[in-house]
Point group: C2
Chain length 452, copies 2
């Protein structure tokens, strides 16, 4: 009887695998792999070069090889690996997978490679996969599996259990039994645990529960994740406009989506636009980051060009060259704070979450700006050239710029979301440019006005 290995033992197994990977000993890895979870085998694959990957995949059981391939990270050229296999071998691996995982993998191939692989499969399997390939991979249809367990409402619990037993042999990882009418329209669900614990003579239609949510196939995957998280669903049904059950999406796919979407949000806020960046090589990283940095160079230069108009002022009051970057930096910090909060709420709760948000951020900027302005005015008194009047100018510039930062950090992403642009993409550049520009202009304008 297999015992669950304690965490300690898994660690040392990892070390042994590391050594074998370093040594490129594929045969020994293959032998060890049969005891591993597919996710762990996926890690091993990621550490190997392509030739080694192909040898390892070929030497593993079809079941383990296919699952491991499916569990590899998206950025790891799974498509290239699949394309490099013999078409017959590739088709064998794909057919072994649940259809949602199969479609994810095939989706990474070039069109001609897809056709070659589909041609090597049974007509039925290929047809099913072709249908699923029609859906955008970032929608509910792209996430769903058509492999569901469903029973008709008029059965008894006992009859339904026999039916579930029968269908369950074909379907992996099902948690929910869907209840449909004669035309396959979704009536609701009956939880497997309820079916098992019910009297065998009771009718399924008396046990049926309405689904808290069902989704159309074209719903964005981010919205699907929100629903599953909100209602704690192990799986959510996908239905067409007539209410006919098309498939289901399970929590594990959604955990991946939530992680991917959040990674996207974080990286975009930081000016890294490609969600696959986590796994990229350094040359790929340059390609994804440099365009944003160049844009940033231009916007920073535009904002700083305000300084050029006030060269005379700076030449006479050089302490302003010390103050200006501080006001710009704090504007950027506050703007980023507002931005992060706003984008986070937009991601977790959708657009309606932002009611009253701009007003709140302006209020926060009003108070924080007063404190920071006063602080910087005091600091300026200790610098040679710092006068009380300069303190007032510094204070005003910081104060107003903080209010601008709060406003921009909340208003820009909310507006972008309303007009249908992903707010995490461009907000950061807008906000920083605006706070730099305003900061420089306020400080140098006020200084020219009051101090010269």
């Amino acid at each position: 009887m297999p015992e669950s290995p304690p965490l300690q033992e898994v660690e040392s197994l990892e070390d042994r695998l590391d050594q074998l990977v370093q040594a490129g000993n594929i045969d020994a890895i293959s032998e060890l792999s049969e005891e591993l979870h597919p996710s762990d085998v996926a890690d091993v694959l990621e550490a190997l070069d392509e030739g080694q990957r192909i040898r390892l995949l070929s030497s593993l059981s079809v079941e383990l090889a296919s699952e491991a391939l499916a569990e590899m990270e998206d950025g790891e050229d799974r498509g290239d690996l699949l394309a490099a296999l013999e078409p017959a071998k590739g088709a064998e691996l794909i057919q072994e997978l649940a259809d949602d995982d199969a479609v994810d993998l095939i989706g990474e191939l070039e069109p001609d490679e897809q056709s070659r692989l589909l041609a090597a499969m049974s007509v039925e399997d290929a047809g099913e996969l072709r249908e699923l390939l029609e859906y955008d991979e970032e929608t509910a249809g792209g996430l769903m599996t058509t492999e569901v367990v469903s029973v008709i409402g008029s059965l008894t619990a006992g009859e339904a259990l026999i039916e579930v037993r029968h269908q369950g042999r074909e379907v992996e990882d099902f948690y929910t039994v869907f209840v449909v009418d004669g035309t396959h329209r979704l009536l609701g669900t009956v939880r497997l645990d309820h079916l098992v614990t019910a009297d065998t003579e009771s009718r399924v239609e008396d046990l049926v529960e309405p689904v808290p949510a069902s989704v159309p196939p074209d719903l964005d995957q981010e919205e699907v994740g929100r629903l599953i998280g909100r209602y704690n669903l192990a799986s959510v049904p996908v239905v067409d406009s007539q209410g006919v059950l098309l498939g289901r999406i399970t929590f594990d796919d959604v955990i991946d989506v939530i992680e991917a979407e959040q990674t996207e949000d974080i990286l975009r806020l930081a000016g890294v636009h490609d969600e696959e960046e986590l796994r990229q090589t350094w040359t790929e990283s340059i390609r994804t980051r440099l365009p944003w940095l160049v844009l940033n160079l231009i916007t920073a230069a535009v904002a700083a060009s305000v300084i050029l108009f006030f060269e005379d002022t700076i030449a006479q009051i050089t302490i302003l060259a010390f103050i200006a970057p501080i006001i710009a930096a704090l504007g950027g910090s506050s703007g980023t704070q507002s931005l992060a909060i706003t984008i986070r709420r937009l991601t977790l709760e959708g657009p309606k979450a932002t009611r009253g948000f701009v007003a709140k951020e302006i209020l926060v900027g009003l108070v924080n700006g007063a404190v920071l302005g006063l602080g910087l005015a005091v600091i300026a008194q200790f610098i040679p050239g710092g006068t009380p009047l300069l303190g007032v100018v510094v204070m005003l510039a910081m104060w107003v710029n903080q209010i601008v930062a709060g406003f921009a950090g909340a208003f820009i992403p909310t507006t972008l979301e309303r007009v249908g642009v992903d707010p995490s993409v461009a907000s950061s550049v807008f906000v920083h440019t605006l706070t730099d520009l305003c900061g420089f202009f306020l400080l140098l304008g006020l200084a020219t006005w009051f101090l010269l």
Copy 2:
């Protein structure tokens, strides 16, 4: 037979609720609520003031009221609400909940309020909750429920199903049947769907599967989330050092953890330290953000003070006051890019993911820095006072600062993680201070050296 409502209908129900909430019509809300999912009722509660909340909770069925209370956001003063209820009512709601949700709620009360509530419960329930309260709420023990379905390995599938039926009446939302030996040590799991689809005469021990992961009760919740996401588990068992099954953690708790941890990462990167900020009022937001901004004011002033040492240089070459903030801004941007990538990998994959990361970021900085340096040098040629030699100085300062940014963005969080400090907390300040300081020093130092 209840039909699943199409999305459209839910929207209009929402509108009706909105109107009732605006009007404060608690009786009508209460009537409508009985048709809603507890998560939706939780939203309604969040929109009401405390007096209205208490009236609504008192008028709902105990089952719905308790679930709705459990589904309210953490930041929404659920503890205050619970404390404001009659102790008998509060105890009734708590006892209705699964023990993990009950502990979460009780954990938000002050110690004396906890005692009062526990005293109003049955001795048995109170004892169980007291045991769970011992665990840190951010660990596996704090997330787990002790309500598990478990069978002894020597039973037949048929006997096990009867046992599962019996235990299942008491346990909510179970997806996995745990298999234990006579001393309650975990042997593995048998999936409910496998048990249902197996021949009734087969032995459970022949169906048992090893668990891909089990966790000790003191494991950090972030690590629990990583394991569940990695192995696609509907639930993960919690075992003590002897392998005795203590409880289980289900995917829905983990989705909440993943969302909370990622929110924390995003907000901390942006300098907002409190994970509850999403729901805070504007005064609370000021309290959580202002300390970080004040720290930021100090570090920005320290970095900018470099400029004071070069006042003469700036007075003579005022174009430097235009160049300096651009070099600092781009250093901050590149540093944030490295930082976001590094922190994201640390969160998703743990410390071992960062091997070779610092070297990669330095390489990226080397190339991006060359391009950006050249770009800014060219821009400088169009500004009055821009000379080829100034171009060289600008180019060098930008270049070296970009390498520093890449290095700092990868090295600082990795090092903080190694010494056991959460890298998302302080990295951003360190990196920005360093890139500002280096940027100013490089530009003004080189300019003083070569141009004066």
